[in-house]
Each structure stands twice: as structure tokens, then as C-alpha cells.
Amino acid sequence: MNRPLKGLMTMMQIIDFDWGAFAPSLTLLAAALIVCALSMGHSQASAVRAAWASLIGVAAAAVLTLMSDAPALYFSFGAQDADGNPIALFSVDSMMRSFMLICLVSTALCILLSIGYLRQRGALRPEFYALTLLCALGMTIIAGSQDLILIFIGIELMSLPLYILACFQRGSASSEASMKYFLLGAFSSGFLLFGIALIFGSTGSTLLQDLTGVSSPLFAIGLALVFVGLAFKIAAAPFHQWAPDVYHGAPTPVTAFFASAPKAAAFAALLYLFQAASAMRAEWSTIFAVLACISMTIGNLIALTQKNLKRMLAYSSVAHVGYALVGVAAGASESVLFYLAAYAVMSVGAFGVASALSSKENEMSELNDYAGLGFRRPLVGIGMTLFMLSLTGLPPTAGFTGKLLLFKDAYAAGLGWLVIVAALNSALSAYYYLGVVVKMYMTQPSKEPAHAPSIRHKTAAAALIAAAALVFIGGAAPKAMMNAFHISTDAAETAVQNVPSEAAQ
């Protein structure tokens, strides 16, 4: 029953510390501290400097992660168990690198989007970038954690800056979004912490490796509470109520950030815990399958009725969390990773179009704002169409490849009914995603504006081009995208085989 956790028991190499393995995280930390120092400046120029410094920091961390291909290493930071053997608190392996890359790429894109948006509104502050970097640092902590305490600290380090980023725009909607996010975030952290306490109470350890094979009622309740806390963080239905209001009220580049990087990081914690809790794998798998089903259906059905683009994309993100949970239920971590990467770039792209086109007078968040835009701004129209096709899951986009991989793995894991539900949901979602395309190309605006909204900032344009390129590469050359995100291509098959054999036992 004691199945190795990511090959942990068989050949685990635990060392104290290694500068090379931590180079990306330390780069991020250094950048965060430098930007904090820059925050002392008050002028617009220091804010721009902070923005570029943070972008360079994130890019350097991403490049360092991309280039490293050392074997899996486990770190104890000097921690020892009662017998004096080192214990693994942190891991640096390919999965950690994939999660880091997903988070760093979406963080970089959102930094690019934010510069023009915030400057236009007189809200360009160096603190914005200090908080973004600290948030990214929290994500890297989650991505490598092998210990529940570290996971919790990572989640808090990630969440706290998010609450403040949500209110970076003056106005009651932004403040309300921030307050709502803060209260529900604190509430979900309570679930997480209580769950961790119960897990510690039943196993006497907070290490993920000690959770394999444990099956006691107290442990099950603790794990369920932790999962509820994480479900709040990823906004899976029925824990999604905060998402539409927060996504709607927050500044659009921040919304793009919310939908991509923090979600992927919370999924990392979810996947690690799911892998670690091997004893009741079949039961947890069923629970996640049901959660996926509810999330997809509720998200898509409510998204159908939305007239506001940001709210619609918020409900669509609830639905996409559902698709990714299909992969979690199937135990297919590689395809979940690919889907998260694909969703991160396509949602940043979709929110990014709204963010780049918006001006101080027109937030571009209503669907009607996009009427007739396809012909007046052809490039923007093509980009938005690509993102919408990807969100629907049509080729040749990353969204299509991601869904294909997920459905294949879920079917192989014996979750045929869930694949059917997911496919029906995808068909349903086509109505409102393609509705945006129809709006752009087949309708005329009710009153012709003097000049159509356009992209005014080169940085935002660069972010959109990068996102569109990634979405296209993910569809046309999935192998290239997998290699770029350190997702091992051959492991996709082996990961699937775990669940049925576990269920058979």
C-alpha cells in the first residue's frame, strides 16, 4: 500500500541546501527586496523602474528554471527526525519546475499588461510590483513544498499580496472586491489550518511523505478540510461565490493574474496532497470527479447568462477549474499541468485584451463594447478570436490539446461518464465564447464611437502577442510547449495507470 511518493521512498536523495537548485527562487527573492527598496521612491519614474526590475527578476528566474535539468533533489534545510536522519521539506524536481514556469510566465505577462493600465489611471506604484514579486515567491514555495507547514506559509505569502492587488484601483468596486476576497480568503485559510492541525493530530507529522497509507477517520476529516480550503483558493464550485465579484471589481490586469498564476499554485498543493494521500485514493478520486462535474456545469451555465465580459470569464474560469479537476480525479498530473499552462496563457490573453483596450473612460468590460471591433481593429479581433477558440477547446489551440490530453487520461482511468459530462460542457461553453466572436464580427455598435478603442501601450501589445503565440504553439506543436514547461511527455501515460490499479486493490 505504501506507494512511493514521486519515487520518494526508493531513491531519495536528501541534502541540506544547494545554491544551484535554489537559484531561481533566490533570484525572485532578490528582485522582490530590490523592488521593495525602490518602493521608497514616490515618483512615476521610480514606479516604472520598479516595473522593469520586477520583469527582469521574473524573466531571469524563469530562464534559470527553464535551463536547469538537474535530477530530482530533496532538501532538509538541516531538519532531522528523532533518529537524526534528514527529512525532506522541499523538493526541486520537474513537476516543481513546471508549476514555477506556469506561475512565472503568467506573472511576467501580467506585469507587462499592468504598466500601461495603471499608468493611465494614475495608479502606477512601485508597491504593486513588490507585492507581485512576493506573491510569485509564495507560489514557488508552494510548488516545491513537501511539508504542510511550508505549503500553508506559501499559500499565505501568495494570498496576502493578492488581497491588496485587488484594490489597486480607486473606486468602491475595487475596494469591495478586495474586502470580499480578504474575508473569504481568511475563511478558507481557517479551513486549511484546521485541516492541517487535524492531520498532524492523527499522524503526528506534517510531512507529505508521512501521509502515504494513513487512513483514519480523523485524518480523512483533516484532509477533507484542507481540500475545502484549497477549493476556495482555486474557486471550484460550490466554493466559487467570491470569484465573479472579485474578478469583476479588481483592475483587469490583476484579474488576469488572479485567474492564472495563483490558481496553478493552489493546484500544485492540491495535486501533491492528492498524490500523498494514497490510502483512500479511490474515494478521493470520486469526490474530485463530483466536484469537477459540479464546477464545470455551474460555471458554464451561469456564464451563459452574463452580459459582462469579466464576469463571464470569471464563471468560465470556474468551469475550467472543473476541467482541470477531471485530471486530478484521474490522477493524471502531467495533463493537469499542461491544462493549467494552457489555461493560464489563454485566460491572461482574454483578460489582457480587455485590459489593453480599456481606457480611463471605457473599461471595456461589457460585451457590447466589443460590437463591430473585429473589422475596425483586425489584429485585436484575430487575437481575441484565438483566445476564445482556445477557451472553447477548438483546434489549433492550446485549449484543444489540453482538453484532448485530459479526456484521454480520464477515459483511461475509467472515468468515462465524467468525460461525457466534460465534452457536453465544452459544447455548451462554445455558445458564449463564440458569442464574443459573433459580437466582434457580425454586429454593429449601437452608437458609433468617435474612435474605436485601440491598444495604446507597447508593453500590453507585447504581452498579448506572447500569450497568443503560446496558445498557438500549444495547439500546433504541443511537444514544444510541454518541453518549454518542463512537462515530461512520456510520463503522461504512466501517471494514468496508477488510479485503476489502486482502485483494484
Binding site: 521593495c36 538541516g78 499608468r119 494614475g122 506559509i153 476529516i221
Partner: protein, 181 residues
């Protein structure tokens, strides 16, 4: 005997927590929180964790809740209607879910845990002093998480600066916009 005293303190802690959410006057709520904190501290004493007990009383009851009280008094929340919420369907569903959770989790703990487990923890600290074993945990096995907490504090600090600089002065709206143009 000690199990009964322990149970009494636990009930006091729970009662204090319930009072925090039931009182409409925020000052009473904060004072109920003091009650909970002291009861928790007494539980720690009975488990032999003297240092944590003292820290709990000093830091939470002594400093944090007093800070709450200061803030409440500075805000001058005279209007107690502000904290009043109608007992609607939402509250009923919430209460039902809460009761369900307490029933399931409490029932399981009741079934799994036994009273002598609480006295066991006192034996852990017998060989070496309690502060020593606490320091060992904090500065050896959990050193990196402990240091990582400082980053959370940094984030909170920057957050406070943002909220004050940015949201505290609505009148500065115009000056900043003119800077931009």
C-alpha cells in the same frame, strides 16, 4: 479529575468564541475573545506547555485583543446596527452546515481521542525544558518556514503602506491625475 478541569476550560474557550459572534457590541465581542484566549492558555498550562501558555496570555490577551479594543474605540462604532445582521435563510443554512460540521468532526474526535492523550503531551517536555524543545522545533526543523514568515510580514507591511497612501487620501485624486498627464 484533571480531565474534568480540562473539559471545563475547553467549554469556557468554546463559550467565549460563541459569544464573540453573538454579541452586537464590538467591545463585548473583543472582551469575549480575551476569555477564550485565557481559557486556551489554561489548557496549555495543563498540558505542560508553560511557555506557550504565557505567550498566549501575554501576546493574544494582553496585546492583540487590546489593540482590537483600541481600534474599535478609535473607530467609535456607536451605531450597533452596523453589526446587526438579519437572521435570514443564509444564516440558517450557515448554522445548519456549521452544526453538521461540528457534529461530524466532534463526533469523530470524541470517538478517536481519549482523555489520557492530553496528559501524554506533558511527558514530552519532561526530559528537557519546554522552551528548549520549542526552540529546537522552531530553529532547527522549522527554520526555513520560520524565516519565510518574515516575508509574509513584509507583504503585510507593504500592503498597509499601499492602503494608507492610496486609499487614505481621496482628496489627492486630482493631483495624481495631473502628474500623469
Amino acid at each position: 479529575m484533571s480531565a474534568w478541569i480540562m473539559a471545563a476550560f475547553m467549554l469556557t474557550a468554546a463559550a467565549g468564541a460563541v459569544m464573540v459572534i453573538l454579541y452586537r457590541n464590538p467591545v463585548y465581542s473583543a472582551l469575549s475573545l480575551v476569555l477564550t484566549m485565557f481559557a486556551l492558555s489554561a489548557i496549555y498550562v495543563m498540558m505542560g506547555a508553560y511557555f506557550i501558555a504565557v505567550a498566549q496570555a501575554l501576546v493574544y490577551a494582553g496585546a492583540i485583543v487590546v489593540l482590537f479594543l483600541f481600534v474599535i474605540m478609535l473607530l467609535n462604532l456607536r451605531n450597533q446596527q452596523a453589526l446587526k445582521e438579519s437572521f435570514g435563510l443564509r444564516a440558517a443554512v450557515g448554522a445548519l452546515l456549521g452544526a453538521l460540521f461540528i457534529g461530524v468532526a466532534g463526533g469523530t474526535m470524541w470517538a478517536v481521542l481519549s482523555p489520557d492523550q492530553f496528559s501524554k503531551s506533558a511527558e514530552v517536555f519532561k526530559d528537557e525544558g519546554h522552551t528548549e524543545s520549542l526552540a529546537r522545533l522552531l530553529f532547527k526543523n522549522n527554520l526555513v518556514p520560520f524565516e519565510a514568515v518574515s516575508l509574509i510580514l513584509l507583504a503585510a507591511l507593504i500592503g498597509v503602506v499601499v492602503l494608507i497612501r492610496f486609499h487614505g487620501r481621496p482628496s489627492s485624486d486630482n493631483s495624481e491625475e495631473s502628474n500623469d498627464a
